[in-house]
Symmetry: D2
């Protein structure tokens, strides 16, 4: 995690303290389940809870340097702090029972933090989409002016994508809301499945259908892939902001705060650096996917190669995506929109965007499609070469006027008609 | 697609013929919807269907070389074949209305073919898991003998993973079962949304909430990620087969067919080449994920950079995964299992795998966990160095016997007890 | 390989025929080396060469379906065609001696084809860079107008990158110009190292320092990484073309051929589809890198998991990159450049790009840097808001005029001075 | 950077302090070059050096939060500390002149630290390869016993690979030993190229041929790809250690330190966790390649999307690889080798590994290759089924004895002969 791209909640989530506290939480939940099963003296967990142990990550890591085993180091530390009752912890359990169940709790927490942020982004997009539902702009395919659209429709497209992402995030959360207390090779050799069931239920998790030593990593691969899909959606939005803010386009720009300097050399510049930053961060989130997929293939009942990978990608990918969602929300919320520039760029196309309507009218009037296409393309090309206005050139073409009355032609050049469904589209995104 | 790794159904699915036929199917569905809306003369689609046009991919590609536009080439060809009524096709539509809707149909078909194969693999795994539910083998973590497991439990783990994959595949199919007939920039400028709704319903698809010129590519990114997760699951299974077949392990091997030669130089060899091949193919399916994620970020209402990527990864990733699933099914079905070798490897560990049970019994008898660990580790290390049997060394240790009676010690060395939950685990995987 | 993106030379290179002919070439080279060592009757290779065997890929693959081993199938076919002398082929060799040495020959050939194309691209870039060395345009950072540059300098930047790529490609060619005839586990158990040395020398290859059963795959990982770096360079160029061709920028565009249709719906459009296509293809070449890296980690003296990967990525990545280089060359050669549009976009910035010069002059005249920055930024911001020309606003600011005479200020607004080093830069790229 | 996987030298290299100190170093080198060119008062740099400024990263980052520009924050801080002469710093330069030149210095330093560690690994591999040059073991392809090899030859293979990596690392170092002081768009608008040349020479760097605002990122893509190739080589070595340490193989194992605990549940276990860890870390280094390649494609004269990526991957990938090389060296140095286990596994194959020698002898004696193969395979298969010793079965086959005398057959079963070239191979790796 790079502190610059980590918000405090994610920093806290992935701290050593939080990790060890989560381990303790899992050990205590398991302990309580064992108390009910009379494997452990009743009241053990309660008595430990009442001690309000203050775990010391530094001390645990010192012990680990000797024993070279993290869970044993942790248990030793707990026993040092809490004395004899701690001996009952971890009974019949394997390290991975604690580690993987804890990891599930942390990832679920991360998913919840992300969902929150995704919702905030959706709220911002919904607000701006509604605000600009009737703000016309030129739609572009291939970076080339195509037909008119509204800025609200464009934002509604991003909103709909982010709403899809919310559904995916929830599904991914379900994928990893799974723990295991099934022992060294998943056979419940020393603890009955009922212990697992009770302990996980108390923690809000489900048991793994068939665990190995660990929860299989296909679940985590799904989780990290989902983060990358969301990041790509943010990257698409950020890329569009960068385009809108281009000098020659100038249709919208990131809010420029007082005191901010765009360039050490060029004082006049206002650069879309937040959006560019999001594009870079998306590459980082994406980079977690392949390692997560490579992690699936562990040998036999598990090897530990996945562990170092997860130490990196779990905090990095979740915190980075969290930061991206916050930053994207703030960009959308603060985006300075220039409807007049949108209008100017639209007008600069010289109504060429009505070409398809004209072509359809010609076909409707009986011209073969190919011929209609040629007529319209010829006028369009001449208009582009500066031979006159597109509408005027068409009105002066006898083959066109043979099929279309002046009124019928005028009907083709109606912006409002072209955007008649904008409201319906925006509403669809808001509602869904 | 490499023909060696492509089964006929996928070859057919991704052929030029199938592509153009699917385009025609979409154009006709749209045409029918327009007929109902009285935009096109009633009966047009039916009359075209009755002609049973035989589309010629070679001819279409010839035309494309001139017009440099695939859909225009296709429409020209259809008009050449079918004459005037064909002029009504594609009315008010943009190329991507056809292309993306068709692509959705092809991907849905691919998903169905894959689901079929995934089911076959589950069936094979279920059969073998049931067959070997009581076949004991040593479980291994880190490649090192751990505690006993049964071969059926191991296969049940793969079965449970593949069943999860089936759920994911279905969700991915829903993601891409979405078309669009919304025009050049998704605004329904020339066709009412009701046309899209009717046409897509007839094709078994849903309309995109907010389309750009195309269906947004986050859906496809989810689809290809899902394929990679499934491929990783197959790779895990294949890796385990490779381990089981190792000379020194010898617990199971791929069926060796008559006439097959293992090596041009070494006639005695039986190599797990099918499983190794699956590991390689998984890398190829995985390689589709990042390009699919990079495809999400198209400029404005779309650019066409995703197209060449999809021309490669859509056939390649689906056909390769299809082949992988078929091959994995055949490996599982034909796997030659050697229960006696499993038993021998288990016995070779010298009952060390009962160490945890002993430790737990010692703790249960009142010894501090750390001390119990040390006692058991000491006996285990001496057993590994050949100083005697593990059980005998424990029985000879006064500190052990002070806490455990001979009977209590014997109770710790009971294989059947260690595997008591195997049935329940296998059943869980079969049922879920 | 997708035929659409494969030029004939790469199609031929990776055909079955070429593969089997290369195998024969390697077998014959080895045979000759063995003849010199008197392990094989003198004249064997010559007699086989004289037969001018016409290998039949279809027949070889039929045999393979029975024996499930490609090299044995090939040798069987050769013996069928050539009779008894063929029995001497492959003596003491292992399949991988043939396969890997052949693979090296094919990759070397691919590298040569690529180098050719890279040179053609450099030639095109050099020509256009020279042509436009004095064509001023606005330089852009963050998509925002920065300071002036010339179009020739920009192209020179791409030229310099492609020249670096040529050096990298040559180094990559050296990496994989390595064969092995060292037997089943690289120990020369049945053939002296001198046979390998002679045979490889005749084929233009070097022996592997320490082979396993195969040539280690780190070499190939370097090769495919290099292709991806080159592809990324082409993608950068293509992305710039897409920007230049944007409707609002309009500074350069791909040549539009007669008969070409930009859009089925919008006849007026001229889209940078070739450049967009290059961006997609770069993703595909990039996607070969991770599988190639994953291929490095083979078990012990080798497993065969790399083979299926290479069947896909070797043809795909080389042919795709070859196609990309051809297409990029044709785009550069045919690029329609609009110097007047470049000039217009430059002028539209309103001389703000001289801001740094003004700031430096103010600092040179004794103003603290921070203060100079503020003065210039203030004028720039006012100019952007339409309060007047940037130069005029500065000339009217008493704090500016206190430090700069009118002449000194005018000196800061000299385009020619700003571009004085363009020639030197372009020449550096042409020369290097 | 994860502290667990970061050694102190890399921690220091990528600290904020080191970054700002490197910036100052670059500013001072540029200042001195400007002094020589009389653009800046003589002695400025010297006077600043003499102040021995103690830069405060915390303070710089505070300023950055206001001005939102890192270099401006840094310069403000320097001016705060050093007073008026600092005003001369950065004259005519753009932020990227400092940032990219500094980044080059840091990466060069990282490359030097890595080369050091790579040399240490080579030394360890060379020592152990020499030590075990005559230790026979069974070579394995596909995980299946093939022909004999020596452990020294196997290590020599890893040595040769690591030596190749050293060459690649040096080439990668050259790629990124390039700075730029060429201004906002690389045109030297405010500073003559001679300033750049002098300043970079003083820093040990070369000028970029054609810079944009920055040094083009193809250089960095090569650098990170190279790290991944090295990591893959370490992963191959680590994977082999994991195989050797498997319970059923037992040929070598990681040194187990006193006090170390293999498992919290199973006290007897000695797991190859360091090697497994290296496999995971290799995935992380590999994950830097695609983002580095995606970074190449910056818009126009640059955008800043690469920056966040490099903030993560530059420290992470270099530090992780540094750690991997240290750990791999320590594994190789401490590897506990069991020659007797190697011998036992070799013997367990029952001399089947001599099958190719027998086949060659039969062919040499006039039998067609196919027939020889069948004879040997038949005996091998029977031996595997327990029908007798391989040599004995051959000696009892009349078709074999018709072609081979008992002496000729015995000659085929000579281990020393099979390993005769081991010395030459090991020496080749040591020498190269």
């Amino acid at each position: 995690m790079i502190s610059r791209y980590t918000s405090p909640e994610f920093g806290a989530l992935w701290s050593s303290s939080a990790r060890y506290e989560t381990w303790l939480k899992v050990e205590l939940a398991a302990c309580e389940a064992m108390e009910s099963a009379q494997l452990v003296p009743a009241g053990t967990a309660r008595s430990l809870r009442e001690k309000e142990l203050s775990l010391d990550p530094v001390r645990i890591e010192e012990i680990e340097r000797t024993v070279k085993h993290d869970v044993i180091a942790f248990l030793t530390h707990v026993e040092d702090l809490a004395g004899p009752p701690a001996r009952w912890l971890h009974r019949g359990m394997t390290s991975s029972d604690v580690l993987d169940t804890s990891f599930a709790l942390l990832l679920v927490k991360a998913a919840d933090l992300l969902e929150h942020r995704l919702e905030a982004l959706c709220t911002a997009l919904a607000r701006r989409a509604g605000e600009h539902r009737h703000t016309p702009m030129i739609g572009r395919s291939h970076g080339i002016a195509a037909e008119p659209v509204t800025f609200g429709v464009v934002l509604a497209g991003h909103l709909a994508e982010m709403k899809r992402c919310k559904g995916r995030l929830r599904a991914a959360r379900e994928e990893i809301a799974v723990g295991k207390i099934a022992g060294a090779v998943g056979t419940y050799a020393h603890l009955d499945p009922s212990i697992e069931e009770a302990a996980l239920a108390a923690l809000g998790l489900r048991p793994e259908t068939v665990a190995t030593q660990i929860v299989p990593r296909d679940r985590h691969a799904v989780f990290f892939s989902t983060l990358a899909v969301i990041a790509a959606g943010v990257e698409r939005l950020a890329t569009n902001v960068r385009h809108w803010q281009r000098t020659e386009v100038g249709e919208a720009e990131e809010r420029f705060t007082t005191g901010q300097k765009g360039s050490s050399a060029m004082p006049h510049k206002r650069n879309p650096i937040l959006s560019e930053n999001l594009c870079g961060l998306a590459r980082l989130v994406r980079a977690a996917v392949v390692p997560a997929l490579e992690n699936v293939v562990l040998w036999h009942e598990r090897d530990i190669s996945h562990s170092s990978v997860e130490r990196a990608i779990a905090p990095d990918a979740t915190a980075t995506l969290g930061f991206m969602l916050e930053r994207a929300t703030s960009i959308v919320d603060g985006l300075v929109v220039y409807p007049e520039a949108m209008r100017r760029n639209l007008d600069d196309v010289g109504e060429l965007y009505f070409s398809e309507g004209v072509m359809l009218a010609l076909v409707g009037a009986g011209l073969p499609r190919q011929r209609a296409y040629e007529l319209v393309q010829r006028a369009a090309m001449r208009a582009l070469q500066g031979d006159g206005g597109f509408k005027e050139l068409l009105a002066a073409d006898p083959e066109v006027t043979r099929h279309l009355t002046p009124d019928a032609l005028a009907h083709c050049f109606d912006l409002e008609r072209a955007l008649a469904h904008a409201d319906a589209i925006v509403d669809r995104a808001l509602r869904d």
